[in-house]
């Protein structure tokens, strides 16, 4: 989690705070999206290792994955002080972006850790 917090420190304020009119700097928006991507990838690998070490099988592992992703969404929202639209062009950026891209990494590391710890 430490790396995630650290990576998000570079998140920049890009909205202007007006309720009626929000402008986004596209460079900052891209930077924010990159940070989401990194934190998601990192977390999906960590989640895979956790699931593998705990020995979760079947549906439980995927539930853990989506649970951790939900927590990370919540963390990102908290980092944006719950005014997501000041940082991103839509709420889906925080909730859905990178959700399925990390799945492959998750499965790989889940299998890897599970095999090393439990199978042999």
């Amino acid at each position: 989690m430490a790396a995630k917090d650290e990576s998000k420190n570079s998140q920049k304020k890009s909205g202007n705070g007006n309720d009626d009119l929000v402008l986004l700097n596209s460079e900052n928006l891209q930077n924010n999206m990159k940070i989401i991507f990194y934190s998601r990838t990192f977390l999906s690998i960590i989640a895979g290792v956790i699931a593998g070490i705990l020995g979760l099988t079947g549906l439980m592992g995927f539930i853990l994955y989506f649970f951790i992703m939900a927590i990370s969404s919540l963390g990102l929202a908290a980092k944006a002080k719950f005014s997501v639209l000041n940082y991103f062009d839509s709420c889906n950026r925080i909730i859905l972006d990178g959700l399925f891209g990390g799945l492959m990494s998750f499965v790989l590391f889940w299998t890897f850790a599970y095999d090393i710890v439990h199978i042999f």
Partner: protein, 247 residues
């Protein structure tokens, strides 16, 4: 759990772990090799010029609302007017990109180099895995799968009675190939060489693109842009911020 296979720990120590480590290291090596091989050829002046014009037009489009209507209009005319606007290309002068590509052998070699740097390590690793590790049951996927996945996951084991969730070493290689992409993007940074599909797409776009066409597209999108000056609202906001500071 009675039907579980018992796997030798030696398989873990000598197949599973080394295979994964080698995959990671080869990915890193490939990244640096492709970085070394990237050639810096001096680009054509005309192409650079057109590219800069497109970028300027794009900047104008992005920042259109930050300048007054009059300034925007004059800039728009500068770019799009039909006689000597920067984005206006007289018909019949557009160069043929296909011919240009064939006349420039550098481009083809460059493309081939890029492709080779992707294909050669993959072929070599695959041959290596095949040679050393063929036929091992190397891992077990922790979730059940249907029979359809048998050919995918048990590539190299010709037994139909083994549970589908057991993975052969050759298939573990493929799993690594796809799953490590996320790890590479973490350790190698943004533009890592392993993101083949995206690069292919960019390359295809870059080659097929006619520069005059992109100029035309930029011109059209400048033409239809709706100008709406936002700065008057900013004054109130700045005032509010300053007042807050004064307190």
């Amino acid at each position: 759990m009675a039907e579980d296979l018992v796997l030798d720990t030696a398989i873990r120590d000598w197949v599973l772990v080394p295979l994964s480590i080698v995959m990671v290291l080869i990915g890193v090596l490939r990244y640096f090799v492709s970085k070394l091989m990237r050639s810096h050829k001096a680009p054509d002046q005309k192409i650079v010029k057109e590219g800069q014009v497109v970028i300027r037009a794009r900047n104008l489009k992005a920042a259109a609302n930050f300048i007054p209507a009059k300034s925007f209009k004059s800039r728009k005319t500068y770019f799009t007017n039909e006689e000597n606007g920067l984005l206006h290309i007289p018909p019949g002068q557009a160069p043929n990109p296909q011919a240009q590509m064939f006349s420039d052998p550098n481009m083809a070699t460059d493309m081939m180099k890029k492709n080779l740097s992707m294909i050669i390590p993959q072929t070599l690793t695959f041959a290596w895995v095949n040679f050393f590790f063929s036929g091992f049951v190397a891992a077990k996927i922790p979730f059940p799968l249907t029979q359809r996945f048998r050919s995918m996951l048990q590539n190299g084991i010709d037994l139909s009675t083994v549970d589908v969730s057991y993975v052969s070493s050759r298939s573990w290689y493929f799993l690594n190939l796809f799953g490590l992409r996320g790890l590479f993007s973490l350790i190698l940074g943004e533009e890592n060489a392993t993101d083949d599909t995206q690069r292919m797409m960019q390359m295809g776009g870059g080659f097929g693109m006619d520069s005059s066409k992109s100029l035309g597209a930029e011109k059209d999108s400048l033409d239809i842009i709706q100008h709406d000056w936002v700065l008057p609202k900013f004054e109130q906001r700045a005032e509010a911020v300053l007042r807050k500071l004064m307190k």
